[in-house]
């Protein structure tokens, strides 16, 4: 296994925030509505992890360091884990586990539907992240995993709908996402690789 220390560090860095937030909630450091804070942090965490995951390929092209690609699956799975916790936090803290109300919410509130769709886009990626599926799906695996872009777009739309008074943070995430997509335009990514002195 190459770069074991790097992989363990990424693992720990991604693992630590949720237990730390729980500890903060436990000690009343999250204020009077800790469930809501937890919900928002998990959602933003999932978005951040998705953006980081999508950074790895361009970084690999630019720097030719093999460590980037080695943590791609791991970060993608962390993104899905955060998304699952985010969904759970919504069901527990906002919906109060009132599943009869869930159908109503999905029907009436597009941002919740869009959030669920984003989660649904991540689900098959998580399920097929193992080596067996990669081998089994062959070329189709790559096509399937382009769903990550759909998840990113849906997650951003989901967040836009939640913004109430100040759109600065959302614009920051959005600019980041657009940059990542621009790097994937045909030709752009390869040029970066060439400039860094490697063979594309």
């Amino acid at each position: 296994m190459k770069h074991p220390l790097w992989r363990v560090c990424v693992f720990i860095a991604a693992l630590l925030p949720p237990p730390f937030w729980l500890y903060q909630a436990w000690t009343f450091a999250l204020g009077p509505d800790p469930g809501k804070v937890l919900l928002e942090r998990l959602g933003q965490g999932a978005l951040l992890l998705l953006l980081l995951t999508l950074c790895l390929t361009p970084l690999q092209r630019a720097t030719h360091w093999s460590g980037w690609a080695l943590v791609r699956r791991q970060l993608g799975l962390w993104c899905f884990a955060y998304a699952c916790l985010h969904l759970t936090a919504y069901l527990v803290f906002v919906l109060g586990l009132d599943f009869a109300q869930l159908g109503d919410e999905l029907r009436k509130r597009p941002y919740i539907l869009v959030g669920v769709l984003a989660w649904c886009a991540l689900l098959p990626l998580a399920l097929t992240s193992n080596r067996f599926s990669m081998r089994r799906l062959g070329r189709r695996w790559k096509h399937l995993h382009r769903l990550a872009y759909a998840a990113l777009g849906l997650a951003l739309l989901h967040m836009l709908w939640v913004v109430r008074s100040d759109i600065g943070q959302w614009l920051l995430y959005c600019a980041w996402a657009l940059l990542l997509l621009a790097l994937r335009l045909p030709g752009v990514g390869r040029r970066i690789g060439r400039r860094a002195g490697g063979t594309p």
Binding site: G31, P32, D33, G35, G45, L48, F93, D166, I167
Partner: protein, 336 residues
């Protein structure tokens, strides 16, 4: 929030002097003054902060402290409701002039100068003018009213306000026969209000709100100058704010500098921002959902991870008996 754009004025929480520390200097000066017999004002002794646990006295102006002995405590109670602790009511706020996050107002509002403060009263009134806050409040005895506060974001608190009925003040201004509505404006002070300097804010400043005249004259409608037995903390809308307990919190405009009586329904900030989401009336109504979240239920704060404290929202926030008559014959699903 994971990614933050700190406003230029942002100072880290570690640099903030605790209220008790900077007050100790004032107490010291105050004690000296008393010792000299110069001003025997028992200002801090009588700030009535002992009524509620964990309340810091703030910097009460003399006119406020002078009113406390004649205050009618618990003039309106909220039977069966547990008060929200002061710490929560003063550190979980929507006051977008000070930033978009719930903790921003408490972190950023400390430097707002609230003295001297003038309020302009104009429009359809017999006695328009600029009034100093002290002058404005002087004729009114303060009373304490424990009200439920229901935010449009589906959380709620129970807060003991100190103030006087808005109707009493409006009567003194002598509304003309043309007056049908009351419009309110919050201070514009980008120097002290970082939210007003943000280039990404979705609201237009000044923040504006309004009531129909009969709503404004309703005895439940309060102009507050204090809460929890003390002067209003800046983040809660010092030195003068509105409290309309049967409407969503955003109607209860903070740090008021202008009150205008008008013939036409006034511009209101959230209604202008998103008319499909926020109406002019904004009465608490569990049967009219906000498009982005349900209004059927609310989270009573503080809550915890193990008890989200969800409860059913009640029509007019539980004040239907008093205010339902104001809306007789109206379709509240249209006039939301």
């Amino acid at each position: 929030m994971l990614i933050q754009i700190p406003p230029r004025s942002h100072c880290p929480p570690s640099e903030i002097t605790p209220e008790s520390v900077y007050l100790s200097r004032r107490r010291f000066l105050g004690a000296g003054a008393v010792a000299l017999g110069a001003a025997a004002l028992p200002a801090w002794a009588s700030a009535e902060t002992t009524r509620y646990a964990g309340v810091e006295p703030g910097r009460p102006p003399a006119w406020f402290t002078g009113k406390l002995p004649d205050t009618r405590w618990q003039a309106v109670e909220a039977p069966g409701e547990a008060l929200t602790p002061y710490q929560d009511a003063s550190h979980y706020n929507n006051f977008y002039e000070f930033g978009p996050d719930k903790g921003d107002p408490a972190a950023n509002a400390g430097q707002l100068p609230t003295e001297p403060w003038t309020v302009r009263i104009d429009g359809e009134v017999g006695k328009p003018g600029q009034y100093g806050l002290e002058e404005l409040v002087r004729p009114h005895a303060l009373e304490e009213r424990i009200y439920r506060l229901r935010c449009v974001e589906a959380w709620s608190m129970v807060i003991p306000w100190l103030g006087f009925p808005l109707g009493d003040l409006l009567r003194r201004a002598e509304p003309t026969g043309n007056a049908k509505y009351v419009a309110f404006e919050t201070l514009v002070d980008p120097e002290h209000m970082p939210g007003q300097r943000s280039r990404f804010a979705l609201l237009d400043w000044p923040y504006r709100e309004g009531l129909r005249l009969d709503e404004a004259m309703h005895p439940l409608t309060l102009l507050a100058v204090g809460m929890y037995g003390r002067v209003l903390p800046n983040q809660n809308g010092a030195p003068l704010r509105l409290v309309v307990p049967w409407k969503y919190g955003f109607k209860s405009i903070k740090s008021i500098v202008r009150i205008s009586l008008t013939e036409r329904q006034p511009f209101t900030s959230w209604q202008n921002r998103a008319p499909g989401e926020y109406g002019f009336y904004a009465n608490v109504n569990p049967s009219v959902d906000h498009p982005r979240w349900t209004q059927k239920r609310e989270r009573r704060l503080p809550n915890s991870l193990f008890s989200p404290n969800l409860r059913d929202t009640v029509m007019f926030n539980g004040y239907a008996e008093e205010v339902a008559g104001l809306y007789a014959g109206m379709d509240l699903s249209k006039d939301y």
